[in-house]
């Protein structure tokens, strides 16, 4: 069997840390609706770009049962004072039936304001639908509308710094960045958060404590960015154990973005210095994480106009690893260490577990050279 010296492309997932990039955000409704802006428009963080109306909550009424017509659900229609499509008020009686020569009267009232959507002759069920609910999509980032997706939304383009985290809690928000610690290996505790942090996004170093999270929520902090967080403290704060990596809907008072991982994790120096560089700038952040199909990582977008935009990273350039590539080790025993690829031997090598795997030789920032399974490094896209 012939073994070639070359190796296949290492498509290693990477997290973006870019000082300047042309960021394109697709803002899309979950179902068809109206787009409210047009190509070329300038939008701000909170501009509503698309709107739709979702059917209101349905309420099922067992009308046949309520009217004593279980054996003849087709008869329900005869006793209704309103017909399908008519509106009803909460508590309004719209069907009545008298039985036993008028001795027993049975009726059907709407539990909510809405309209009679349907009546099933087979089951005797009536569906009362609440009024339509408005769903709006905001721009989330300030920029220019470069594309309109008919009936669905828009693409907003801007020049910004872009940092992807590894895990987040909470949805989209924005606020001014404030460095709450002086170095990437410092812990953010409650003492470092003050009243003036209301409405801000504050940056921690290696960890944010449970007490700090509680105080931040109380003071109206919009977001916290931290290198690490203790799983147990996060669970206590959020109020439930995190099982599946799908987040973003939590209502905990602010959005949390973890840039490195769980446990005490020094924030990557380049992430920390980039955030520091833009202290005081308004940033858009989202904690939404989906570690499943259509992977979604939390993000920090800091719009700025100071430097010309670099070329946008395209898919083809993502993931290629070669000597000199900046990487982060993402598994024990070197978890969190940053370094550069020093070599990519083509042959499988036996590691401590006795597995034979493709490895990468990584020169850590400390100067130490270590061997790491290639699956355990992630590329830092600069």
């Amino acid at each position: 069997m012939k073994v070639k010296a070359e190796v296949a492309h290492a498509y290693t997932p990477g997290l973006k840390v870019q000082m300047t990039a042309t960021v394109r955000k697709t803002r899309r409704l979950s179902t068809f609706g109206d787009v409210l802006v047009k190509e070329g428009d300038t939008v701000d963080f909170g501009t509503i770009v698309a709107r739709t109306y979702l059917p209101g909550e349905p309420h099922l009424l067992r009308a046949a049962h309520l009217l004593g017509l279980e054996d003849d659900p087709k008869a329900v229609a005869r006793y209704m004072s309103k017909k399908v499509g008519d509106s009803v008020e909460a508590g309004e009686t719209f069907a009545e039936c008298s039985l036993l020569f008028g001795l027993v009267r049975k009726s059907c009232a709407s539990p909510v304001r809405g309209y009679i959507e349907s009546l099933s002759e087979n089951s005797g069920y009536i569906v009362i639908r609440e009024p339509k609910a408005v769903v709006e999509v905001k721009s989330y980032v300030p920029g220019k509308v470069t594309e309109v997706l008919p009936r669905e939304g828009v693409v907003v383009e801007l020049n910004a710094a872009l940092i992807q985290g590894i895990f987040g809690i909470g949805g989209e928000t924005n606020g001014a960045l404030r460095m709450a610690v002086n170095s990437p290996n410092e812990t953010l505790d409650a003492g470092e958060i003050a009243d003036q942090d209301n409405g801000k996004i504050i940056v921690a170093g290696s960890m944010v404590t449970g007490k700090a999270m509680a105080k931040a929520a109380k003071l109206g902090v919009r977001g916290i960015v931290s290198g690490g967080v203790n799983y147990r403290e996060l669970v206590n704060f959020v109020g439930h154990r995190i099982g599946v990596g799908i987040t973003g809907d939590e209502q905990v008072g602010f959005t949390l973005i973890v840039t490195e991982g769980f446990g005490r994790m020094n924030m990557a120096k380049r992430v920390f210095s980039l955030l520091k560089r833009f202290e005081g700038y308004n940033a858009a952040i989202s904690g939404a994480t989906q570690i499943r199909a259509g992977v979604l990582r939390p993000e920090i977008i800091v719009p700025h106009k100071e430097l010309p935009s670099e070329e946008v990273i395209t898919r083809d350039s993502v993931g290629g690893m070669s000597p000199g590539t900046v990487v982060r080790v993402i598994r024990e025993p070197y978890f969190g260490a940053m370094g550069t690829i020093a070599g990519l031997p083509a042959e499988l090598q036996k590691i401590e577990t006795e597995s034979r795997v493709l490895i990468a030789e990584v020169e850590l920032e400390s100067g130490e050279k270590v061997l790491v399974p290639r699956a355990n490094v992630e590329i830092i896209e600069e």
Binding site: Y11, G245, R292
Partner: protein
């Protein structure tokens, strides 16, 4: 369809499984008259952003094969499916569980009857069941509607009612589904597929009610009578809709589908096909498992009844945190022979979930993953048992003798003493550096009883061979028998409890070389006797009266024992297996057992011992 003549000419076969985490390519070749496995290539699955095209991952995995064997298999169009001396494969087929696999919601009238049949049918087709809605499921109507609204299933299966029975209840279920208007998970603006497999008299009203809103398919009733369950038509419809609707909306699948003449199959369906093949060939009951990154798939074949369950959120990468949540961190840590705080293990497991494609580099990390695997499998079996049971609603003739047995059957008919074969597949089991590791993981998790043979998928190719068997049975079986199924050995585990150190079992083995090997084991011990693959020994197993090896308490058993790469393991730890509460005692027991099976390198176990 591939014709018989073309099948005969097939020399090179390429198969892939697009898993939730990794895309695995396997290459097979006809040498002389038989088909054999040649080589593997693996690469991260690229269903996700920024790639969003599964064919990239397939290309990367196949490229590894190209590089390893120096044969060109890819061109700009995709897989080269016309072979010559140095390029191409004659046949390409694939399974997939990427993008979350096939996610379904099922509904029926009575939770333990038609809704359960609908659940079994969906699981049988390899789907993940997101929710089961029934008239009597304990939720109020608005809660059911709310639950349906928040789900984004790939399709819905509705059962309900026996043929000719009342239709009002099944119409209630239809009303619930209709008013909730569930939206499909993938794609925007297309009709969600709904399969109706209930009372045939309800077809017209169902069509009137749901026909405009959903893409409706009618199939045979899952429960035409209370005594019957017919899931085949529903399963076939699910597979067809999976191809037509779901796959066509998943990133890159349209392209992938063009690369192969063979319909893409969900991974659990491929695995299940091979599990059935093993049970048929060994003419025995069987319990099989596919332990994946996102899901754990269990398969049981007991008295010819085949049941498949897919536990959606039990897995070793994407779902590892959910295993921790469901099992509890203490239950994971109890399998570790060294000290590590709950907090550290918790953080490491969340980190693994966040970086699902990473692999353990240290033995400590490997042991943690093995501990999680035991719990994932234990929970998976627990889930499986809730569906592997007799049909509810069946009126039976009762006799005094049968009463006790019948009650047990209603709980589950999975009795480990009646399962003589266990088969394991999936990344963690197939890639375990030592075969004894997967052997003990399966033993501990399932708590096998009696005399049980354990098999393992050599390099994870059961899904590949499952889909291959749909077009080329001969190739699939030959590769399966010779290269896929690794005989790990036999475990002998009597049921019962005793005091630590009490003698409970004596085994006398007539070895293939004519020698006799006799061992007496004390309660709590685990012993390994080497007996190679393909070798057999005649065994006399004698147990004390508190123990049962399959023929009742205290009764001895004479039987033939099969060897394997691990050999014969005598497990005198008792059943159910209870780990000592005391932390120090438990660690020392685990170390004894791990040493007995040479589970990890000696130096590591010695180091742990000294801690």
């Amino acid at each position: 369809m591939i014709d018989a003549k073309k099948l005969d000419e097939i020399k090179y076969i390429l198969a892939t499984d697009v898993g939730s985490t990794t895309t695995k390519a396997r290459f097979f070749k006809k040498t002389g008259e038989e088909y054999r496995y040649v080589i593997s290539g693996e690469a991260p699955t690229t269903v996700e952003s920024p790639y969003e095209d599964v064919t990239l991952g397939v290309r990367n995995a196949v490229r590894q094969i190209e590089e390893l064997i120096g044969r060109r298999l890819l061109d700009e169009e995709g897989i080269i499916t016309k072979s010559s001396e140095d390029q191409g494969a004659d046949l390409y087929c694939t399974t997939s569980s990427a993008g979350g696999g096939l996610q379904m919601m099922v509904a029926g009238v009575v939770k333990s009857m038609t809704a359960e049949s609908a659940e079994r049918a969906a699981l049988g087709a390899g789907a993940i069941v997101m929710d089961v809605i029934a008239v009597d499921d304990g939720r109020k109507d608005h809660e059911k509607v709310q639950a349906i609204r928040t789900l984004r299933p790939d399709m819905v299966l509705i059962g309900g009612g026996v043929d000719g029975g009342t239709i009002s209840h099944v119409m209630q279920i239809a009303e619930l589904v209709k008013s909730a208007e569930p939206k499909p998970r993938l794609g925007i603006g297309y009709k969600l597929p709904v399969i109706f497999a209930g009372n045939i008299n309800a077809r017209k009203p169902i069509n009137d009610d749901l026909g405009d809103v959903f893409s409706l398919t009618m199939v045979d009733n899952l429960r035409p009578t209370l005594e019957e369950e017919t899931t085949e038509q529903a399963r076939a419809a699910i597979h067809q809709l999976f191809m037509e609707h779901v796959m066509s909306h998943a990133p890159g699948y349209n392209k992938l589908a063009k690369w192969t003449e063979v319909p893409i199959m969900p991974t659990p369906a491929g695995e299940g096909t091979m599990m059935r093949v093993i049970a048929e060939n060994l003419t025995t009951n069987l319990l099989g498992v596919g332990l994946g990154g996102a899901t754990t798939n269990l398969y049981s074949i007991v008295d010819q009844k085949f049941v498949r369950t897919v536990s959606a959120n039990l897995g070793m990468s994407y779902s590892i945190c959910n295993v921790m949540k469901e099992a509890g961190i203490a239950n994971i840590i109890r399998w570790l022979p060294f000290d590590l705080s709950e907090e550290i293990v918790e953080n490491r497991l969340v980190n693994k979930m966040n970086r699902p494609t990473t692999i353990p580099q240290t033995l400590e990390e490997l042991a943690i993953e093995h501990a999680v695997a035991r719990e994932a499998l234990r929970l998976g079996l627990q889930h499986h048992k809730t569906l592997a049971r007799e049909l509810k609603g069946v009126v039976r003739e009762r006799t005094m003798e049968l009463e006790r047995f019948r009650r047990m059957e209603e709980a589950t008919y999975i009795d480990m003493m009646r399962i003589p074969v266990i088969v394991g597949t999936g990344g963690l089991l197939s890639h375990a550096p030592r075969r004894s590791q997967s052997f003990l993981i399966l033993t501990d998790a399932f708590q096998v009883e009696g005399v049980t043979r354990i098999f393992q998928d050599s390099v994870f190719m059961m899904p590949h061979l499952g889909v291959l068997s749909t077009v080329h049975k001969k190739a699939s079986w030959e590769i399966f028998e010779k290269d896929c199924l690794v005989k790990l050995g036999t475990i002998i585990a009597p049921r019962g409890q005793s005091q630590q150190g009490e003698e409970i079992l004596t085994i006398t083995l007539e070895m293939p070389d004519g020698s006799t090997h006799k061992e007496t084991l004390r309660f709590g011990e685990l012993k390994r006797i080497k007996l190679g693959e393909g070798k057999k020994a005649q065994a006399l197993i004698e147990v004390t009266k508190l123990f049962d090896i399959g023929l009742g308490p205290g009764n001895k058993l004479e039987t033939e024992i099969d060897g394997g790469v691990v050999g014969v393991v005598i497990d005198a730890r008792g059943r159910p297996l209870v780990l000592p509460e005391n932390h120090t005692v438990r660690k020392s027991r685990l170390l004894e057992w791990f040493k007995a099976l040479e589970l990890y390198p000696e130096s590591f176990l010695e180091k742990v011992c000294r801690q």
